[in-house]
Symmetry: C2
DNA sequence: TATGGGGCTTCCAGTCACGGGAAGGTCAAG
DNA sequence: CTTGACCTTCCCGTGACTGGAAGCCCCATA
């Protein structure tokens, strides 16, 4: 398989696949002409990586997940711990965003949004009143 | 005022303040010795920027907000539009994170988390079953 | 056989919003 | 006069790619 077919089937851009090779996440073979020659197993790994990335795992977490995936003697506890830690990151990020959302939507709803210059959003930002940390 | 005092009072790292000058968000004066000489108005702007940033506005949005703030003939509608657009971004990001959270927490709760290798998290990532887009 | 167009390769630069750290000038206190 | 805290600029690194240039490679068609 050449890179374009793998890209299509894995749902990842070719650029990303080259990048994943560069950082050692995959090691496709090479054809005589220098082209990357992907096996089914490479495709499988790339799909795995794509799904892990889309769940928000960082590249390094993906690397760890791959290592666990390929380690037949892994303990599921290790996988779970990694995933739970990531879940906490997600929850924290959601809370952070919700706080922004709460503050900002309050400011927005207080703003007339007309042709006049008076604007509680700007005065809120300027004064820090009712504003974030 | 020198940079450290401004940094303390604005709650921003000195590095960040220098960066903001570099990209033209502020224009502090210079003392004879080459040190930046901040006015109260610079401090005020920096505090404004810090609050806008902490609400998640990008640097370019902050630049636009500052411009509106300093434009006495602004229409509050313009400010509101900017803020609302940003609110939509926040809401979208929250939804995205919640989707990750839902998928991942399902996988996590299905995982025994013991010494055995069997792990629904890994098989989920490998198969794409019940997994994200 | 020439040529055209797509695909493949590498390498370099840019993104965003800074942070770290080096090399060196400046200032106030002891 | 020295010490140490401050200030300056400059350059590199971050994460996870993305875009683009320059240059092979391969196949089909005229």
């Amino acid at each position: 398989m050449n890179i374009k077919e793998v890209a299509t089937r894995a749902g990842l851009p070719a650029k990303t696949i080259r990048y994943y090779e560069e950082i050692g996440l995959i090691r496709p073979l090479r054809a005589a002409n220098g082209y990357r020659a992907f096996r089914e197993s490479d495709l499988h790994k790339l799909a795995f990586l794509g799904r892990a990335r889309s769940l928000g795992f960082t590249i390094e977490e993906c690397r760890a997940l791959m290592a666990l995936y390929e380690d037949q003697s892994r303990a599921s506890a290790d996988v779970k711990a990694l995933a739970q830690s990531h879940l906490e990151q997600i929850a924290a990020k959601i809370e952070e965003l919700k706080a922004m959302q709460a503050t900002l939507s309050e400011l927005v709803s207080a703003c007339a949004g007309d042709h006049r210059p008076d604007c509680p959003i700007l005065t809120g930002l300027a004064s820090g009143k009712d504003c974030c940390a």
